[in-house]
């Protein structure tokens, strides 16, 4: 740490301050939108709706139990599940940076739409939220599918409706099981907020890069790194508390 002038660090922090706020904002709003959206995507991914099934022969149509599988084939085609699968494949299979660019520049280059300056922030939020929703959806799905079928059966015999069963029996148990993978995603999101620089949205990393270029110093980037590290330290701490809070049952 020889040669670091701490007054210089304070100066950088002052300049980065506003950017930090923007980074935290992207982070918080992305979680706020992507977590519920992910649940919706997960439902679509698990959709068993097959509109052509009525054309199938009776004995093939009969579901086997609650977790039963219906024989596949053209007539067993599930359109919602299919579309959502493709949606998830694209969002997980292409770079988030590219997705941000498409969301921001797409409306103009594809449709000639003129969007206001404020769209920059909205584009960042759409890009992040949709991308993270795809990841969360798969986490939710794995959680939901890990709940034993006996839980559904016990609820069914007691007279719980489908939505009561999900809200009261399945969802709470799923929530507990998915905390570790969700923690992973949330930590990744903290670091991913820096990708907003491709849209020159003024979050912290964008500003840090600008200062670094202007002053020919690596110090601003170092300060940025420390910021992400501390941010994630806090996130990990909070997630651990959440995990502990759910530890009252197994």
């Amino acid at each position: 740490m020889i040669g670091i002038d701490f007054s210089q660090v304070w100066g950088i922090l002052g300049q980065l301050g506003e950017g930090m706020g923007a980074s935290v904002m992207i982070f918080a709003l992305t979680l706020l939108f992507s977590m519920p959206l992910g649940l919706l995507v997960a439902f679509g991914r698990m959709s068993k709706w097959a509109p052509l099934r009525f054309l199938q022969k009776e004995e093939v149509k009969q579901p086997v139990g609650l977790g039963g599988k219906i024989k596949a084939g053209v007539l067993g085609f599930k359109p919602i599940q299919f579309i959502v699968k493709i949606f998830i494949a694209i969002l997980r299979g292409t770079p988030l940076m590219l997705q941000l660019i498409v969301v921001f520049y797409g409306p103009f280059y594809l449709f000639g739409m003129q969007l206001p300056r404020s769209y920059r922030f909205i584009a960042v939020l759409i890009g992040f939220s949709v991308n993270y929703a795809a990841y969360f959806a798969e986490i939710y799905r794995s959680g939901i599918e890990s709940i034993p079928v006996g839980q559904y059966e016990a609820a069914a015999v007691l007279g719980y409706s489908k939505s009561q069963t999900f809200r009261r029996i399945i969802f709470p148990q799923m929530a507990k099981r998915i905390v570790p993978p969700v923690t992973n995603e949330v930590i990744t999101l903290v670091k991913d907020t820096s990708l907003a620089f491709v849209l020159t949205y003024e979050e912290m990393f964008t500003i840090a890069k600008q200062i670094a270029a202007k002053e020919g110093s690596i110090l601003p980037l170092f300060v940025a790194g420390v910021f992400y590290f501390i941010f994630n330290f806090v996130v990990a701490f909070v997630m651990e508390r959440i995990e502990k809070a759910m530890d009252y049952y197994r």
Partner: protein, 253 residues
């Protein structure tokens, strides 16, 4: 009065005929045990009766109300959702693996269904739940979570959960198969007590001596059909069919 009636029930899984023209009826206060080797269809029959599986053909009737009715060609046609929801109130089911809700305390496992589904007053449900817990010898466990209980205790909670809904009859699906012999005894005792109170019950079990002692009627199933049925002493001690003799041979020695 007949609590449950099943007429000409058929069930296939793909090409596999699991239940072939099964008929049975259970009167109020009767205890019926269903015995038979694995794969004989006894659990499937129980799952059809409790609406966890759908029958392909036949009638399913609770207290004169049709849950499913055979049409002109014998195909089972199920009633609408609302009727089925009402019919479900007639019975409870105790599972082999208990299937308690792990995120609920013992008390909440027992009280949530009557309050939420039965729409009954909270204080009344809690009072009755405490009586049930006392009966099950679990008064000190109302705030415990299922993972803190032994298998036998969990099964007693699940019996209390079923009873809290005040069903007209109870089904037991191999209630002791997941328990060691010591814990099996405590569950069998609870079921015997219920029988003494004239609870209507259908029990799928591998406990032959218990089936003989507790039931009024025994059904021996194999290969998806009822091979033999009758009074417990007759079926267990003096079976007529070769298949029954072979199955019970081990037990009688």
């Amino acid at each position: 009065m007949k609590v449950l009636e099943i007429n000409h029930c058929n069930k296939k899984f793909g090409d596999n005929e699991v239940l072939k023209d099964i008929s049975l009826s259970v009167s109020e206060g009767q205890v019926v045990s269903i015995i038979g080797p694995s794969g004989s269809g006894k659990s499937t029959l129980l799952r059809c009766a409790t609406l966890l599986e759908t029958m392909d053909g036949g009638d399913l009737v609770y207290l004169g109300e049709y849950a499913a009715k055979a049409d002109a060609v014998g195909k089972a046609v199920y009633s609408d959702k609302e009727s089925l929801r009402n019919i479900k109130k007639n019975f409870g089911l105790v599972f082999q693996n208990f299937n308690l809700f792990p995120h609920y305390s013992v008390m909440r496992n027992i009280t949530e269904p009557p309050i939420l589904i039965g729409k009954r007053p909270k204080d009344e449900v809690y009072r009755e739940a405490r009586v049930l817990l006392e009966k099950m010898g679990l008064s000190d466990k109302e705030d415990a979570y299922p993972f803190q209980l032994s298998g036998g205790q969990q099964q007693r909670v699940s019996i209390a959960r079923a009873l809290a809904m005040k069903p007209k009859m109870l089904f037991f699906d191999e209630p002791t198969s997941a328990l060691d012999p010591e814990l099996t005894g405590e569950i069998l005792k609870v079921i015997k007590d219920l029988a003494a109170e004239h609870m209507t019950m259908v029990i799928v079990t591998h406990e032959m001596a218990f089936a003989r002692d507790v039931s009024n009627h025994i059904i021996f199933m194999d290969g998806g059909v009822i091979v033999e049925e009758g009074a417990p002493q007759d079926v267990i001690n003096n079976p007529q069919q070769e298949r029954t003799k072979a199955f019970l041979g081990r037990f009688q020695q």
